[in-house]
């Protein structure tokens, strides 16, 4: 403890005191705020880049012509540029609303706002001195500051006012709210509000990323903590609040230890021993020993298929991938034959690897995913799944025979359960439904004859 009694005003620190304080970290930002900050920063960057390119009239535009052309060709068309701008804006608005709805008790309470954005007399004095010091016209000490300094507060006030304005005017333009006259004014107000924020944003970015004195503040937006020395020097009033709180907790703890009948008992969460960290619900589900219900697996598979179509432009498949592995092996030994064969040449042109295909990597990924899933659930071991009455050898023979039939049939049908039934079914291919009916019909019949091997 570097201080016996907390100073009312910042005092000169001894070297040891400074050393101790530089080592201690104080928590400044909740992780939710850090995430929101960087999400917001990314959105602003992208929205400014696209928004600047959207204003094309010679009357209003400020970005040079080459910039407009560059962004237009990057997005394919100006309509895509506009769509991107609108979709991102809606996502941004939604995220802020979700934060507002779930976190209004934490972020939007009057006393919190007062503390974080309300400017007091010290703050106004700070602004004047800060400006003079930056210009090199003054050596006066800066007045003590709360958790945010006056510059940050001023910027926050502007943000708090401008963000709703930008959201409302943006939605007005995007969804034609309130009629044409409102849209006309919305464009102008949108532009003006963004312009004001940008001029503040430049200072914000400069202070955070370039200005040497504020470097710990920048890193606090990544780690969530600042060292105590920085807090003492730059946010003295906040530092004092934190210290007072710590003192109270310490006294309460000491009273507890000495068995004194504590006069006012401190809040329970401060004295209760920390409980061991509970794994999150997601982690518990992942580590469950039982198999998940098939309905969840089915929905998951459907979503995976959707994602595959979205990302790769094609569906899932298995037999096609295996065919490519075969072609790769075959072309190692008999490239001439492979290229000449009517069937194999579908997958092989000399000079192009048959393995450069999504399905090839998808199969590797499926194997890795299965391994991870088994490992997470503690199911990983070498075993042969078989019925109780048959030997391992029978199982191997049957599996190989079944595999050969399945492989042959799948290529004959131009797809397996994944490629034809799933992916084909997803695009409503008639062949997929015929295949699926045939698979189930044959499966029911076959299962009857093969039941003794499993029961």
């Amino acid at each position: 403890m570097p201080f016996e009694t907390l100073p009312i005003e910042p005092v000169i620190l001894s070297a040891e005191q400074a050393e101790v304080m530089a080592q201690r970290q104080l928590k400044k930002h909740h992780v939710a705020i850090i995430l929101l900050h960087w999400f917001n920063a990314t959105v602003w960057l992208l929205e400014l880049a696209t928004g600047g390119a959207l204003i094309s009239s010679v009357f209003y535009r400020f970005a040079p012509g080459w910039y407009l052309e560059m962004l237009t060709s990057m997005f394919g068309s100006r309509a895509n540029l506009l769509r991107f701008h609108i979709v991102l804006g809606v996502v941004w608005t939604t995220v802020f609303f979700v934060y507002g709805i779930f976190g209004h008790r934490t972020y939007l309470k009057m006393e919190i706002l007062q503390r974080e954005v309300g400017l007091d007399a010290d703050d106004w004095r700070w602004l004047r001195v800060r400006l003079l010091r930056i210009l090199g016209k003054s050596r006066e000490h800066l007045p003590p500051q709360g958790i945010y300094n006056a510059g940050q507060k001023l910027f926050a006030v502007m943000i708090y006012i401008m963000i709703p304005v930008i959201m409302l005017t943006g939605m007005t333009m995007a969804f034609h709210w309130f009629g044409p006259a409102a849209i006309r004014w919305a464009i102008v107000v949108h532009f003006a509000a963004v312009g004001m924020v940008v001029s503040g944003l430049m200072v914000h970015v400069y202070m955070g990323a370039v200005f040497p004195e504020e470097k710990p503040a920048f890193f606090s937006m990544i780690t969530g903590t600042v060292n105590e020395l920085f807090a003492y020097r730059h946010h003295f009033k906040w530092w004092r609040e934190v210290k007072m709180q710590e003192k109270q907790w310490e006294q309460a703890w000491e009273r507890e230890q000495s068995g004194e009948p504590a006069a006012p008992s401190p809040p329970a969460e401060l004295t209760a021993p920390p409980s061991p960290p509970q794994p999150s619900a997601l982690m518990r589900a992942l580590r469950a020993r039982d198999y998940w219900p098939p309905y969840i697996a089915g929905a998951g598979l459907g979503l995976t298929l959707l994602a595959t179509f979205f990302v790769m432009g094609q569906g899932l498949g298995a037999s096609g991938g295996f065919t490519r592995y075969l072609v790769a092996i075959l072309s190692l030994f008999a490239p001439g034959y492979t290229a000449a064969s009517a069937y194999w040449s579908n997958y092989y042109q000399p000079g192009h690897s048959p393995l450069l295909d999504f399905l090839v990597f998808e199969i590797i990924g499926a194997a890795i995913g299965g391994l991870v899933s088994g490992w997470l659930s503690g199911r990983l071991k070498f075993t042969v799944d078989k019925g109780p009455r048959i030997s391992r050898r029978t199982r191997y023979l049957l599996a190989t025979g079944g595999g050969v039939l399945t492989g042959f049939g799948a290529r004959l049908a131009r797809g397996c359960t994944s490629g034809l039934a799933l992916s084909g079914g997803a695009v409503l291919s008639a062949g997929a439904f015929v295949f699926m009916l045939a698979v189930f019909a044959a499966g029911f019949m076959g299962a009857y004859f093969m039941r003794r091997y499993w029961l």
């Binding site: 009357f59 100006r78 995007a174 004014w185 102008v188 532009f191 430049m202 200072v203 400069y206 040497p212």
Partner: protein
């Protein structure tokens, strides 16, 4: 390059509105709105020297369009063939162009919430068809073609028969719809439906003359301030702040 133009022979026009109907059904224009209208000018003069007749109004596809400059997003633009068209995907329905057009050729489509106007039937012309109003015209009074092609009917009518544009000394932005007919009739029609001066709506003026300069000035001043601060920082060096 080409220069699409239309010639309307007011002497042949019988004012039947077939062009309006054809256009509305071809482009699904909402009821109560139209991309092309037939108006009636007159009667004027003294009995027995009365003048009266129809006048067909539509987008003039001006060579120097005022609507293109007023459009903030670039939804309204001039094609290589000189026609002025609207990209609905980009239009946000602000109506700056409606105010800017001296001919009243534009309207805000209340169904799509976007601006709409004649586009010289761009989709039909691309397929090699004539505009819907031209093939429908019962009196064969409308002609469409390339003004730069000397053999086209429009260029002959414009350069040899003296078809005239609807222009005034105050508003001459190069309209590409031309009118033929008896001089007295054309005089009356053009005088009755003369273009009004183009307007930039109040928010547009405010944006162009006040907001844009102020925003640029604010950003410039901030930049300058930071440049000074950064220069000071470089001069002083970082050693001083070691906390």
């Amino acid at each position: 390059m080409a220069r699409y133009a239309m010639v309307i022979d007011l002497q042949k026009c019988v004012g039947c509105q077939a062009c309006t109907v054809a256009c509305n059904s071809e482009w699904e224009v909402p009821v109560g709105y139209a991309r092309t209208h037939v108006h009636y000018a007159g009667p004027a003069g003294v009995i027995p020297h009365l003048v009266a007749g129809p006048y067909v109004a539509q987008c003039n596809h001006c060579s120097h369009p005022t609507c293109v400059r007023a459009c903030p997003t670039g939804a309204t633009y001039q094609t290589d063939q000189g026609s002025v068209v609207v990209n609905r995907d980009l239009c946000i329905g602000c109506g700056f162009c409606v105010e800017a057009c001296p001919y009243g050729a534009r309207f805000l489509d209340p169904v799509r919430n976007k601006v709409d106007k004649c586009d010289f039937c761009a989709a039909r012309v691309e397929k090699g068809l004539q505009p819907a109003c031209v093939i429908t015209c019962t009196a064969h009074a409308k002609f469409f073609g390339d003004l730069e092609d000397a053999s086209s009917s429009v260029s002959q009518m414009v350069y040899e028969k003296g078809a005239r544009r609807n222009e005034t000394p105050a508003v001459h932005i190069g309209p590409n719809v031309y009118y033929l007919g008896r001089k007295a009739n054309v005089d009356l029609a053009l005088a009755s439906f003369a273009p009004r001066p183009p307007r930039l709506a109040a928010p547009g003026r405010f944006w162009r003359d006040a907001v844009k300069p102020l925003v640029l000035a604010a950003i410039g001043a901030t930049f300058l301030g930071q440049a000074i601060a950064f220069f000071n920082q470089l001069v002083k060096g970082e050693g001083q702040f070691d906390d």
